[in-house]
């Protein structure tokens, strides 16, 4: 089966610094792949190459089996992207934001569908008609997650998706990601939250200094062992 996402010997050099070095991994349909690493490990950079925002210095990134550089717009059309800082317009309310960005994506959705997505991320009804400049970080994050859900794409790229969410919302989010994967979506999630990654991912890749230094996979019907990954993460970081 063609992987939905593939990094093949991906390297990236910026301003003379090696940001990514021979990174290779794949994520198949129905799979949640978590890229784990400390600050500056190259997690978000890897994610941005799949969107064509950064050009690889070496190797390739493929979306749906096609190299991203060959048709960036086609690659983006298959991806719902949740940036690290939930970036939506402060002068618009949640409905206006979602309608606008979905219009940009060429998706027509009803108000009821938007409400359903906002219900799914548990954004309070009273907040939905307030301008987002008055939103907390968590509320902005929930709205951005709703946008990613409403895009209804086969691939989701999530950059620190639980940042700003309270523990209950994090658990609900993890359940939601698992449900999306169960429905056949491919999820690539970058995070430094070891526990969260192990809760939700089928596979975890450990990035350090731009190199993929470890890979962990859940046994059939089980979750990835948090302690093992944490130990590897801490060991590598200490190294």
């Amino acid at each position: 089966m063609t992987p939905s996402l593939e990094a093949r010997s991906l390297s990236l050099v910026r301003d003379g610094n090696v940001v990514l070095n021979q990174v290779s991994f794949t994520a198949a349909p129905g799979e949640v792949y978590a890229l784990l690493g400390g600050n500056g490990a190259g997690k978000s950079t890897t994610l941005l190459t799949f969107l064509g925002f950064l050009q690889p210095s070496g190797g390739k990134v493929l979306v749906g089996g096609r190299e991203v550089a060959a048709d960036i717009e086609a690659a983006r059309a298959q991806i719902a992207y949740l940036p690290e800082a939930a970036s939506l317009y402060g002068h618009l309310d949640a409905y206006e934001n979602l309608s606008y960005f979905l219009d940009l994506a060429g998706r027509k959705v009803t108000r009821a569908a938007i409400d359903a997505a906002l219900d799914q991320v548990a954004l309070p009804h009273a907040a939905r008609t307030r301008r987002m400049q008055a939103f907390s970080k968590g509320m902005r994050q929930k709205t951005a997650i709703a946008l990613a859900l409403l895009r209804d794409t086969p691939i989701l790229l999530l950059d620190e998706p639980t940042s700003g969410l309270d523990p209950v919302a994090i658990d609900e989010f993890h359940d939601m990601v698992k449900a999306l994967a169960a429905a056949g979506r491919t999820v690539l999630m970058v995070t430094h939250d070891v526990y969260g990654a192990c809760q939700v991912a089928d596979r975890v890749g450990l990035l350090r200094g731009g190199r993929l230094v470890g890979s962990f996979e859940a046994a059939e019907g089980q979750r990835i062992d948090t302690e093992t990954v944490h130990a590897a993460f801490a060991e590598r970081e200490a190294a």
């Binding site: 941005l48 969107l51 717009e73 983006r76 317009y89 002068h91 606008y100 960005f101 940009l104 060429g106």
Partner: protein, 478 residues
């Protein structure tokens, strides 16, 4: 909905909800409306006054009593340059070139300014007009509103979200360009309104339409410049600084440099300077008031031969009138030579300034605006030529009367003999030889043709900036 329109609409919604943008736009709109109304009223009043004064001057000339024709030569007449309808938008050179000329024999007077009835205008505020505001203030408004169009998205992270929705950089740049062009179009309404009023007042629709199109082009250049900087620069503060610096250069510094360059490249003597140079040549032509001046010996010989007369007393025409006409023709040739040389040099200077439009679109739009409004230097030069032709015609008409309606004997004796003096008075009906003078701008097609160069310069700007935007948009990344 088309995504370009969608992005533009979102930008308009942001601006509509932004107090800073609304206040800035409101200030400019009020200033524009007030200045347009005041300038239109002022120019309309000026046009009416000058037309009335022209008619009054003609009536006064016609109402002169029976008298010696040469006294009428020195009594003189006035020519007024009435402002054309589009001067209500762009008064052009009107404020600096003079608007009326006293026409008399043996002289080409300098154009002068109408009397100021009130000292209230003398502070310089009357110089503010709609054209100035469009040329100087509107670009600043576009900079304030638009400098962060793309940078705001980049800095807040929404650019990544937009691109991630599958939008290309070109679509985003197109939407932003359309949004700012929409603001520019909104602010074109006052000039379009004034152009409409000018058409109602008799202006050619073609000239009015091209004038509005010229300002649309000019604001389009600024829209493109603002967008290009917003696309290519990484920080809003840097973009704002760069654009304000560009405005200073384009709207204020380069025009000043262009004027200096034009003056330095072509040395055009002023009227007083060339009049002083001309004096020596003028003396050599002889004194037209003195028929015995040796400068007219050759003429006398030729006229005597022509009429087969032995002396000037035997001539069937008045020798004094012949000398006056001959002298005026020679003197006018001399004065016209200097005037034409001076006007050509001024035109060369003006052309150099217009060519600086390649560096400053403000200069280009100023040149096209004045030309199309009929308030440019070329139009003023035509006024000088036409008023000079009027002067020459009526002076020579009077000299012809002097030669044909009066006898030499009466003319020579009129100082000592009251009866001879009475016979040298010509019936006042003869003053009707003065032609009525109504100055009108060149036909619209001529003005449009003259405005072609500055309009083309703005098109070059727009094409170049369009290329820069296309490259920047293709490379647009969060």
């Amino acid at each position: 909905m088309n995504t370009v329109l969608l992005i533009a609409r979102e930008e308009w919604r942001l601006w509509a909800r932004s107090r800073v943008v609304l206040v800035a736009a409101l200030i400019v709109a009020v200033l524009l409306a007030v200045t347009s109304a005041i300038t239109a009223a002022r120019v309309g009043d000026e046009a009416a006054k000058r037309t009335a004064r022209q008619a009054s001057a003609e009536a006064t000339f016609f109402a002169q009593p029976d008298r010696h024709p040469h006294r009428m030569v020195h009594y003189g007449h006035y020519a007024f340059r009435s402002p054309p309808p589009l001067a209500a938008f762009d008064p052009g050179v009107d404020a600096v070139t003079g608007q009326s000329i006293f026409l008399e024999g043996h002289r080409q007077n300098t154009a002068m300014f109408a009397d100021t009835r009130s000292g209230a205008d003398l502070g310089g505020f009357a110089a503010l007009n709609p054209a100035n505001l469009y040329q100087l203030l509107l670009p600043l408004l576009l900079i304030i509103i638009g400098h962060g169009m793309v940078l705001r998205e980049r800095e807040s992270g929404t650019l990544a979200v937009m691109l991630a929705q599958g939008q290309s950089g070109l679509a985003i740049a197109g939407g932003k360009a359309l949004a700012l062009a929409g603001v520019a179009a909104l602010f074109l309404l006052p000039v379009a309104g004034l152009a409409g009023f000018s058409v109602a007042a008799g202006e050619a629709p073609l000239a009015a339409a091209i004038l509005v199109a010229g300002y649309a082009l000019y604001l389009g250049v600024w829209v493109a410049l603002v967008l290009a900087v917003s696309l290519l620069v990484r920080q809003r503060s840097v973009a704002l600084g760069l654009l304000v610096f560009a405005w200073l250069l384009i709207a204020l510094i380069v025009p000043r440099l262009a004027i200096n360059a034009g003056s330095a490249a072509v040395d055009a003597p002023g009227k007083i300077e060339s009049d002083l140079v001309m004096l020596a040549q003028q003396r050599a032509l002889g004194d037209g008031h003195n028929a015995a001046d040796p400068a007219f010996d050759a003429l006398q010989k030729q006229v005597l031969e022509q009429y087969e007369a032995a002396s000037i007393e035997e001539l069937p025409i008045n020798w004094r009138g012949v000398v006056a006409g001959y002298s005026e023709a020679k003197l006018t040739d001399l004065m016209n030579g200097y005037a034409e040389a001076r006007m050509q040099k001024e035109a060369q200077q003006s052309r150099i300034v217009t060519l600086f439009g390649l560096v400053s679109p403000t200069l280009a739009v100023g040149a096209s605006s004045r030309t199309l409004a009929g308030t440019d230097l070329a139009t003023h030069h035509r006024f000088l030529r036409e008023s000079e032709a009027l002067r020459f015609d009526f002076v020579q008409g009077l000299n012809d009367l002097h030669a044909k309606a009066l006898t030499y004997a009466d003319d020579a004796a009129r100082s000592a003999d009251p009866e001879a003096e009475a016979r040298t008075r010509v019936n006042a009906d003869a003053w009707r030889l003065l032609e009525t003078f109504r100055f009108v701008p060149d036909p619209a097609t001529q003005r449009v043709a003259r405005a072609g160069l500055p309009l083309a310069l703005m098109l070059i700007w727009l094409a170049a900036l369009g290329g820069v935007i296309a490259v920047g948009a293709r490379r647009l990344r969060p």
